[in-house]
Amino acid sequence: MNAVLEVKKLKKYFSTTKGVVKAVNDVSFSITPGETLGLVGESGSGKSTVAYTVMGLYQPSGGQILFQGQDVAISHHKRKRILKKELQIVFQDPGSSLNPRQTIENILALPIRLHDRDYKKGIAEKVQEILSLVELPVEYMEKYPRSLGGGEKQMVAIARALATNPSLIVLDEPTSALDVSIQAKIIHKLIEIQQEKNLGYLFITHDLSLMRNIAHRVAIMYLGRIVETAPAQQFFETPYHPYTRMLISSIPVVSSEEEKLKPGKIPSMGEIPSPVNMPAGCVFHPRCVDRMPICDQEEPINFEIKPGHWVKCHLWSPNK
């Protein structure tokens, strides 16, 4: 199946007064229609930077971004119009992704006006259609974002992304700021819509339990690199990378079945180092319980330990 999005050795560096920050360093992945790729990581991992670079909010420092086969690794200002229709993003903070001074109708009318020349039925009707797609009442059209709850605002943001009938939606922590019952509603809807329209999702979150239930494949990032990628079930049942194991063991869970699934308690040590001063060799080595002498010398290479399951770790590299 042809990938909707293919990212190859993507790099994004920022020059700051303290030095060069390699926010994204050699990241590769692909997404096929109807698939959700989960990108998980903590602060400083670079996952949001990946999202923004794919969208064109940042100009990549290197690598390729192939959207439906075409290289679009440039800033969104220079991208073709069709891309603005096919590739959409839902931001993390529902509070600031909707203009507080515009009605819901106006907010949703914008993408329609820009991309749907064919609106013979009238924009208002199209807006109603989209609202019902996300199960929001038609009366909301005249409301302002401030009268809506956080979850409802996020639904509007999702509706806006769907309004242009895209092929891929990037979702950057869409439910992190929301309560769990509202999150459940939104995730449920997202999965439903994905199946209906065969959409690809690049789903970014730090919440591993959530990831388990929405992603088909998961990639975990640390300091700008993907350290492990696997199909969702394998990722959680047989994680290989020490960082993955550390992260999964720190998740608070609600049932004993889940407890049994977690790898033995690996107490997390230390914090993410400053991205300007990255450790030599494997960037995770200062916090790694399984550290070996080679780890601060050489960076490990990506190795396919099982079909579809890749790890970047000296522990699992073939030549030890």
Partner: protein, 291 residues
């Protein structure tokens, strides 16, 4: 204790009034401003001696101290000071309105452009020009302009406009610079919206509350500057009534015939106070707090 209101009338205008009137001083400001506006509009009908507003001389009634017939007394030409004060409101208000009508669209648009295109030549050009205008002491600038041109109300308004626009540019520049990084603006850009849409439909509406508050406060200040100009003879010319020139005319007669200067002076103070208090109320009105 039954806390639910009997008739739940939480209307939009009701909510607005609630927010506004929480501070009673705002209501005072509103009353003052409304008084000034209405008395100015209805001057011929609410003043006792409408004829005194223009050319009128009656030395027999000159310099009368305040009394029932002449609430604020009369001036050197025998004109009723109260009537002239009310009529003077007209030129004050006109100055405020015209100056703001010129200054706000220009200043705001320049501020939006400079802020959105920050760190490009557009920003540099606009903001350096703004800086130049701001570095000249305002009154000096106004005086310079009006002394070159003929002294009258129109030129006074022009002079004040020239020195006033940069404040709006600065104000909006700051807001536009931070707003352009908001997710909702980026969403519009990512969707492919035109620059015009982003500037005027996404960013500007979020600046409006601050702009409106400033405009309200500015009415008072522009009127004050206008009075300063007419105090030195560079505004509305005699025999038309203007607050500043009335103060100037009466200054020679202080402290004997104090009422000729003091009442117009108090009127200036009242107007500025009124707009200031009203401005506070407007800013409360726009605050995002839930009523």
């Amino acid at each position: 204790m039954n806390l639910s209101p009997k008739k739940s009338k939480r209307t939009k205008s009701g909510k607005a009034w609630y927010k506004f009137s929480r501070n009673p001083l705002s209501v005072v400001g509103l009353v003052i401003v409304l008084f000034v506006i209405f008395s100015a509009l209805l001057a011929p009908w609410v003043t006792p001696y409408p004829a005194h507003s223009g050319k009128y001389v009656n030395y027999g009634e000159a310099n009368f101290s305040p009394s029932i017939q002449h609430l604020f007394g009369t001036d050197v030409f025998g004109r009723d000071v109260f009537t002239r004060t009310i009529y003077a409101f007209r030129s004050s208000l006109i100055m405020g309105i015209v100056v703001l009508a010129i200054v706000v669209p220009i200043g705001v648009t320049l501020g939006l452009l400079a802020g959105y295109f920050k760190e490009t030549w557009i920003d540099v050009l606009i903001m350096r020009i703004t800086d130049i205008f701001l570095s000249v002491p305002p009154l000096i600038l106004a005086l310079a302009i009006t002394s070159v041109l003929k002294p009258n109300l129109t030129n006074a308004m022009l002079a004040v406009s020239v020195m006033w626009w940069p404040w709006y540019t600065r104000l909006v520049y700051g807001m536009a610079t931070s707003l352009r990084n908001e997710y909702f603006v980026q969403s519009a850009e990512l969707l492919g919206a035109s620059k015009f849409h982003v500037l005027f439909k996404e960013i500007l509406p979020n600046c409006l509350s601050t702009i409106l508050t400033k405009m309200t406060l500015d009415m008072g200040w522009v009127i004050l500057i206008g009075a300063s100009l007419s105090f030195v003879g560079l505004g509305e010319q005699a025999p038309k009534a203007a607050l500043g020139s009335m103060v100037a005319d009466g200054a020679k007669y202080l402290p004997e015939y104090w009422w000729i200067s003091v009442f117009p002076g108090l009127a200036i103070m009242l107007i500025v106070l009124g707009f200031n208090l009203l401005g506070d109320g407007i800013s409360d009105l726009f605050s995002m707090e839930e009523a």
